[in-house]
């Protein structure tokens, strides 16, 4: 029902407008929202979620889904803590172990989806339980690792020149890397092709299995890196780390205009979608509103954008 001559605004434009509205409202209502400190602090707090959302985008673009990333973050956190405290590894090795754990978890999803050709929703629903269960079993559900060395904690709590948190360049690098991969590399083109039509892509010579494998593996590595960032920021490794993060990541990706059936979407949209959610949470907090309101509005924004999108052609055919 699009009128000729007036192009519908793209999802990115819509989200950027929403971000500006949020900024304007919270500058008035939030205490210290518009300060430089808050903007930098936002990058610190939002880094882990941003990493997961950016890594989830290629998976969804290729027509898949990964619901296990929050659990994998929790498992990787626990692995980091136990390698450092109980196995006595120096912290850089333990951090590398956490990233390796993320990669291994991603590989489990990848093999089940790409090699066994199982439905990604079921597979990652299963690994969601599996990873969280392993994290709980390793710590017997109550054990929390704390007392990390200062050098490790400075990764998550320290600042570079000018008060820029360490997370900011990491997030920027993840953004640039995923943008290059999705929009400037054949990987991205082939993920998109698989999302549109897996069979068509296969006949066109796209290595469908390998590309799906890579997308899930990358998501796993991102979960491992996010675990390192989170443990160094909060200073403790717990089995319940990252609970609900999979929801946040999926919401950000869908909000960013990526179709769940695959094929369409952009990294800019995903990042803007994530930024809208992160600013919403931060702004409401600084405006002395309860955290629950942020959760409710996250759901409302998701449904609202979906409904608006449906009126402009729909999410699926």
């Amino acid at each position: 029902m699009r009128r000729p001559g007036i192009p519908a605004p793209s999802r990115e434009t819509l989200l950027a407008a929403l971000l500006i509205v949020e900024g304007a409202v919270f500058s008035v209502t939030g205490h210290g929202f518009a300060s430089l400190d808050n903007v930098l602090g936002l990058a610190r707090l939002a880094c882990e979620g941003g990493l997961l959302a950016l890594a989830l985008a290629p998976v969804v673009l290729a027509g898949g889904i990964d619901l296990s990333l929050g659990s994998l973050l929790g498992l990787s956190s626990v692995v980091l803590g136990l390698l450092w405290r109980d196995a006595g590894w120096p912290w850089p090795w333990a951090a590398a172990g956490a990233v390796a754990c993320g990669a291994l978890g991603g590989l489990v999803n990848a093999v089940a989806v790409a090699r066994l050709r199982a439905n990604p929703l079921i597979v990652t629903l299963g690994t969601l339980s599996l990873f969280r269960g392993l994290a709980e079993a390793l710590t017997r559900g109550v054990d929390t690792v704390t007392g990390f060395p200062a050098a490790f904690l400075s990764l998550g709590q320290g600042a570079l020149a000018g008060g820029v948190p360490v997370q900011a360049p990491l997030l920027a690098a993840a953004l640039a890397g995923s943008w290059l991969l999705v929009h400037r590399h054949r990987c991205g083109r082939e993920w998109r092709a698989i999302g549109f039509s897996a069979e068509g892509a296969l006949h066109a010579g796209v290595p469908v299995g390998r590309r799906r494998l890579q997308a899930h593996l990358l998501a796993g590595v991102a979960a491992g890196v996010a675990a390192v960032v989170q443990v160094s920021r909060v200073g403790q490794a717990k089995a319940d780390a990252g609970t609900g993060m999979e929801l946040l990541a999926v919401t950000a990706v869908v909000l960013g205009g990526t179709h769940l059936s695959g094929g369409q979407g952009s990294i800019a949209g995903t990042f803007l979608g994530f930024a809208v959610l992160a600013v919403l949470r931060n702004g409401l907090q600084l405006s002395d509103q309860p955290a629950e309101l942020a959760g409710i509005l996250t759901g409302v924004v998701l449904l609202g954008v979906l409904v608006l999108g449906a009126r402009r052609g729909g999410q699926r055919g």
Binding site: S129, G133, E199, T251
Partner: protein
Amino acid sequence: MSTDLRRARPVALVLGVLAVILAVTAPGFFSRAQLAPFLAGTAPVLVVACGMAVLMVTREVDVSVGSQFALCSVLLGLLLGEGCPPALGIPAAVAAGALLGAVNGALAAGLRLPGLVVTLGTLAIGREALRWAREGRFVQDLPPSVQWLGLGQSLGQWALALAALAVATAVSLGLQGLMAGRWVHAAGSDPAAAATVGVPVRRVTFGAFTLLGALTGLAAALNVARFTDVDPKTGAGLEMQVIAAALIGGVSIEGGRGGILGVSLGVLLLAALSPALVFLGIPPEWERVLQGAIVLASVAGGTRRAPGRPTP
């Protein structure tokens, strides 16, 4: 019935093996004192799983049942606390559940939005709204008339189990015998073809969401009857439990296939894990590991049975 039986065979086998292991190592598990509370605790999950199975056969999924369950439980608790008789309160909980399901159905089927995303949104809204309203406070001091449906504990436990069994039987018969049941299968196995032969596909999907909501409301009532107070966090993770039970019970996530017999056995298998671990002396933290492993194993089994089929 024969395809239903065949599809339930793998899960029946695993459940049988678990039962034999338990019978040998921990015969106490099958005593009446253990069995009755186990079945009563499983009853609400079974009722929700039946609704989820019907919805999944239409090729949709609802991840918001956990927050629907909590909303209905708290509503029922508050109504009973205000002096509302259970005979009025329980239908009210069912109606509230149906309404919540209808909202999901209207968004998913009416606007053709993906049900997974819609219900992710309503899951967050429902759960956070409840947290805001209750601030973690339990609904306490429920009247004794609702405790075990007023039948006393030993009889009440069996009554809850029988109620769930009756619901499962009714849904199973409806899915196989009624025209609506055939429509559910048709809409899920090939929506375009079903629409061509006159199946109102979107209304069927809407109906399945609403039925799931109503059954979730009923399950909340069965659960409220087991306790003296209502935890506003009740039902967290219920969606994963029932979807997993449906999957290992042979329901296809791609729609069109599934029977209640397998789903019931799947619910029993997942519910038996926790007490089985206790009886076998394994730390209870391993329950979720096993749950995940069982879901993955059912996936691997499912792909082996259908080789060569390209999954789009």
